[in-house]
Structures are given as structure tokens and as C-alpha cells.
Symmetry: C2
Subunit: 216 residues, 2 copies
């Protein structure tokens, strides 16, 4: 577990094959999980032979680590947080709605992303570095950008923007997890727009409360 060798320990290997292996292996690992994946199926999916895999990667674990490191980069929803940076004139309601919708759009119905998150969660016990990489590259940047944005929105009078950012992310991700990842849409149904509307209402109309009450 947790092998740390570089993905390409030997020189003079064709980069096309390396890419083909990573590509094929990604499909199989996402479909079957770590233990459920066989090197034979990876070889088939990549269109190479098994020894070629072992010449490009140390072993099954090394291949998995290399591949998940690549996936974590691709899967970060940094672009979701774009709206936080590029929108000076918009109201917080519009900007936050944009962020929530960007996050949900990148998840809902996106089977590759769903499966990837299942894999990260499922293997974060046996591969702690995988869980940490996901937090580092997928969660932290968005949380920080959102915290920064909420801090700048002084009109909202949020007493703790960092926690508000966690509430925002947590609400959206919990919705995605229960509805899609765990197949709960028929068990605890809730319309997406209703969740987003009320989430934003609760964030935006918040601490004007205390200050208004205090000043009245």
C-alpha cells in the first residue's frame, strides 16, 4: 500500500503506451474498484500486453496511484469557482447560485465523476494519500475561494465565512451524495432548484438579522 515510486521509473518507454495504459486502467479501476481490477483486463482495455504495463509501472499499486493522481487533477471543480472571481458587479445571490449550479452540473448525471468519488471514498482507508490528495486538490481550493468571496461580501455580515463556506459545500455535496451516489432520489425526493434557492436564502439573509434586531 501507498507505494511512492514515480509512475515512470524506467526511461525510453513510449509515451503513447503510457497514456494508453493510464487511459485503459482508469476505465477498469473506475468500473471494478481496486481489488476488483485485474491486470489482464487493464491490458485488454489499454490494447497492450501485460509485461508492457509492468515495464511502465512498478506494479498494480503503482499504476493505481499514478492514475488516481492524474484523476484528482482532472476532477477538481476549480472551474466551478470561476464565478467567484470573475463577477464583480453581480449580487451574492447570483454568484452563489452560479456556483451551486456549476457544482451540481458537474456531478448530476456525470457517471465518471460519481464513480470516481465512490472510488476515492471507498479506497481512502487503504490509500490514505488518495483521500488527502482529493481534499487538497478538489475541496480546499473551492472552500478557500468561497471563504474569500464570502469574507469580501461584508454586506452579508457573516460572523464566520469559513464555516458558511463549509455549510454551502456540505449542503450541495450531501444532496448529490444522497440523491445520486446512494440512489436515494426516490426515497427522500427533493427538487434541486428548491435546495439551491433555500440554501442561498439562508446564507444571504442571515446576519442582517442580528444586526437589524440589535439596531432596532
Amino acid at each position: 500500500m501507498e507505494s511512492v515510486k514515480p509512475p515512470n521509473p524506467i526511461r525510453h518507454l513510449s509515451p503513447e503506451k503510457t497514456a494508453a495504459i493510464l487511459d485503459g486502467a482508469t476505465r477498469i479501476f473506475l468500473e471494478e474498484g481496486y481489488a476488483g481490477t485485474t491486470m489482464d483486463r487493464v491490458a485488454m482495455a489499454a490494447g497492450v500486453s501485460k509485461p508492457t504495463i509492468y515495464s511502465h509501472f512498478q506494479d498494480k499499486e503503482g499504476l493505481f496511484n499514478a492514475l488516481m493522481a492524474q484523476m484528482v487533477q482532472k476532477m477538481q471543480w476549480a472551474h466551478c469557482a470561476q464565478s467567484l472571481r470573475e463577477s464583480p458587479p453581480e449580487s451574492p445571490e447570483v454568484v452563489l447560485r452560479q456556483l451551486a449550479n456549476n457544482m451540481l452540473d458537474s456531478c448530476i448525471g456525470n457517471l465518471e465523476r460519481i464513480t470516481f468519488i465512490r472510488l476515492v471514498m471507498g479506497e481512502s482507508g487503504r490509500f490514505p494519500a488518495l483521500g488527502r490528495a482529493f481534499v487538497q486538490h478538489a475541496e480546499k481550493p473551492t472552500l478557500e475561494a468561497l471563504t474569500h468571496y464570502l469574507t469580501a461580501c461584508s454586506a452579508l455580515h457573516l460572523p464566520d465565512p469559513a464555516v458558511a463556506a463549509r455549510m454551502f459545500m456540505g449542503t450541495v455535496i450531501y444532496f448529490f451524495m444522497t440523491q445520486e451516489l446512494l440512489h436515494g432520489e426516490d426515497i427522500i425526493p427533493l427538487e434541486r432548484d428548491r435546495l439551491v434557492d433555500q440554501l442561498i436564502a439562508l446564507i444571504v439573509t442571515h446576519h442582517s438579522a442580528t444586526s437589524t434586531i440589535a439596531s432596532s
Copy 2:
């Protein structure tokens, strides 16, 4: 996948052995995941022979389904929501803080629960019924109890208690997931009490805002 046979298709099998098998299998499946678990290790952990397992359960999948059905029952945090029912005189702040702390206490440092949730998430693609059972028995009762409680707290003036309940649960579970399940405590550190304090503040002081403003 998704075998639906009863866990005990054949009569005249000792119940003690059945319990021993379920108990041992639970440990191994939690440790190793579904594909990573071998029937040999289950037999060892249960203190029985392999054919005994196959006389009590149809196959590996049937054993897994029976075991996870049992786990979902044990793992529901229904008792966490006790504070919602038995506390007429307490203020919402106190009741909600009790709920958040109950949920976090049952998760933080509870390795069995962490591993169980990893397993449910990781296998919910190949075992959709497992994901649904988790939502049905672990999430839905708490969500409904909390929604009912928040609806009854008319002084809070929450425009949509069902969404507020999701925000509450989502915030707590997202915190647990990033900090513990994904090992992110050092990457995005946040004190537990700070999260709970601000979460409750934002729920409780909410729509008194709008009404206060509107009536002033």
C-alpha cells in the same frame, strides 16, 4: 450482483454458527472491501470451515447482502435524533447542538462506522440496493425527525424546514467526511465546536431577519 435470496435458505442450521459467520465476515468485509475479501479469511475469522459458510449462505454475494442489511440497521443514527423528541422545554439552540454533537460523537474516532460508510459509498455502484437501504434506514429517519422538529419551531420562521434539515445534516456529514473519512484534518483544519456553533447560529437566527426587517 444484487442477489435477493434469504440469508438462511436451508433449515436446521445452528444459529450460533450463523451469527459467528456474520460476525467474522463483517470484520473482513469492512477491512478488505467486497472484492478484497476471500472466503478463506471469512472462514478463519468466523472459526468455521468454508463449506459451513456455503451451507448457511448462498454465496459470497448473498453473505455480503445479509451482512450489510444487518449493518445498516445497527449503524442508523436514530438514537442521535432522540433529543428532537424528548425535549419539550429546551430551546432550539440546545436541542440542535445536542443533535449535532450526537452525530459527531457517533462518527469521530469510530473506526467501525468510518469503514462502514466507506464501504457503503464504495460499493453503492455495484450494489445499488445497499445505497438505497442506507438512505432509507440511516438518512431518512433523521431527516424526517429534524424536519418535523424544525417545522414545529415556528418561532424560527424557517421558510423551508425540509431544506434546512438537509443543510444541517449536510454540514455535519461533510465535516466528518473531509476531516476523518478522507484524512483532511491537517489540510483544511477546523475546530468541531466552531462548526457546530456557527451552524446553529445560522439556522436559528435566520428568518427572524426577513420578518424583522419587513415589520420594521
